[in-house]
Symmetry: C2
Subunit: 335 residues, 2 copies
Amino acid sequence: MSAPSFPAASAAVRPVIAIHGGAGTLSRGQISPEQAEAYHAALHGILEAGQQILAAGGTALDAVCLAVKLLEDCPLFNAGHGAVFTSRETHELDAAVMDGATLAAGAVAGVCRVRNPVEAARAVMVRGQHVLMAGEGAEAVAREAGLAAVSPDYFSTEARRQQLHAARARHAGAVLDHDGAAALAGRPLDEDRKMGTVGAVALDARGHLAAATSTGGMTNKQPGRIGDSPLIGSGTYADDRTAAVSCTGHGESFIRVSAAHDVCARMAYGGATLQDATQAVVHQALPAIAGTGGLIAVDRTGSVSLCFNTEGMYRGHARVGERPQTAIFRDEPLV
Amino acid sequence: MSAPSFPAASAAVRPVIAIHGGAGTLSRGQISPEQAEAYHAALHGILEAGQQILAAGGTALDAVCLAVKLLEDCPLFNAGHGAVFTSRETHELDAAVMDGATLAAGAVAGVCRVRNPVEAARAVMVRGQHVLMAGEGAEAVAREAGLAAVSPDYFSTEARRQQLHAARARHAGAVLDHDGAAALAGRPLDEDRKMGTVGAVALDARGHLAAATSTGGMTNKQPGRIGDSPLIGSGTYADDRTAAVSCTGHGESFIRVSAAHDVCARMAYGGATLQDATQAVVHQALPAIAGTGGLIAVDRTGSVSLCFNTEGMYRGHARVGERPQTAIFRDEPLV
């Protein structure tokens, strides 16, 4: 894969990382202060880890890959360990990564044995032959790269299994029993509405941008469905000339508007600012096709946008030298 | 899937369809006039079929789906019957379709039992729940839609099998024997260079645009690789406000620049004409990452662009009321 390096932005930019853990509908009343605190703490810790890489002069690519790996490892979020179940009670994990300096990209779809799908995506990118590998072919690349493998049940958690059973019951028109209702409660955002994804975007000290996204997909989804997360241009995009973008939401809508690439195109061709470009995609292009969700983006000057049209999005950002800031609900200041 | 209809262009536009059968490197000396004529005749016949639909007031969507179905059925082109073989001597077919009037889209990846992958892509679109389905999940949608099924060996042709064996021999550093060399000759464009795809774009009498793409992938490819053809925004895109686009070439490069969506974005945000937008993608954005190939596009006014940076692209277009025009090589007038 050829690798032209675009001119980096001013060296005066301060490195920054932003992450998301999915967007969804509000269930504020169902969450205790302790539960909200668990999400804030997880987001803070992951932002700090990414921040440390950037502070040490590390690359945006390394920072977003580490952040997404940690989000995958955290059972609170729908990616990696703690991923939702398909209708067959299996897992099909997708991930993508893109390097804005070279437009190099890698992605995997439908994997269930590599411990960290984002690392498999990076292995596909580094290998350079292909961009998107599905299923067994993707697992083979991960094995060849020496990545940690797990049994598919590593990704399973009891909470997600109950979520599947509740979704099935609801799909069947059944009244939820206590366990089913409990499975849908206790999480700030109703992830059963198919919004679960994690992602990270970063700008490093050399002015390079990178984006990464990972997901466990939709609870009770049909096997074989591929959403926007592993699709370069749809759920993930990075170009040093404009921005790095990672999306979360109703994947089909993000695919139909090429959401991640559209943010960059509005900046490149229309001269839009990052804020204007992300607002236009999230509050105009997506709603025009009833698309719900959000995205995080950072541009070459270090501007950050955490933008969503749902009731909330697990989100945060951290500039080198500043305390990470996180938020869950809409109209909630970053803390 | 919600379906906003964008305002149609002037009713004065004359419907038009354009098709491609892949782009590649020149081997003009290896082709006889009779062989070239076979390609021209196939392209002409398929354009006439699409033209008839448009002349009768049919939709752009119907026209592109029929044209791609006929391209799939024709063994000259690398899609459907006559698709190339993977490294395991199997077939993995991909296809996509998009309706510019509603941004509805459907795609399938890695199918080998539905006779016409483009019809499976349309079935996914019509079903509306998902946009991209892979493997068995895609086959299931095709079965539920009542589409014709075939044995995987339906797609196999002796010429493609010899092409695989020749590619393997070349990959292994072996000198090609007579059969191997012959397998690579006799086709105007060297499809072994991974350029094989078919596609169609159309504008109908109501001012609506549509695009469809289908491919048998790359000879000797690793199973699981997904190229740009089934990826909305990469190899296929349609938006009534700008253009319908179908790409062919080194798929990974088209993914990395979101080629099909990028044409539309340059028009929508930068005010580029169709010609300027397609030239910029094919002769600037793609070469910047060493991307080879081409695309066909039509805009809402009926302008057509058949644009490629390789030695040739099987291509043609037909306006209602005019004789279809086709060409193979660069610097060759449409005839």
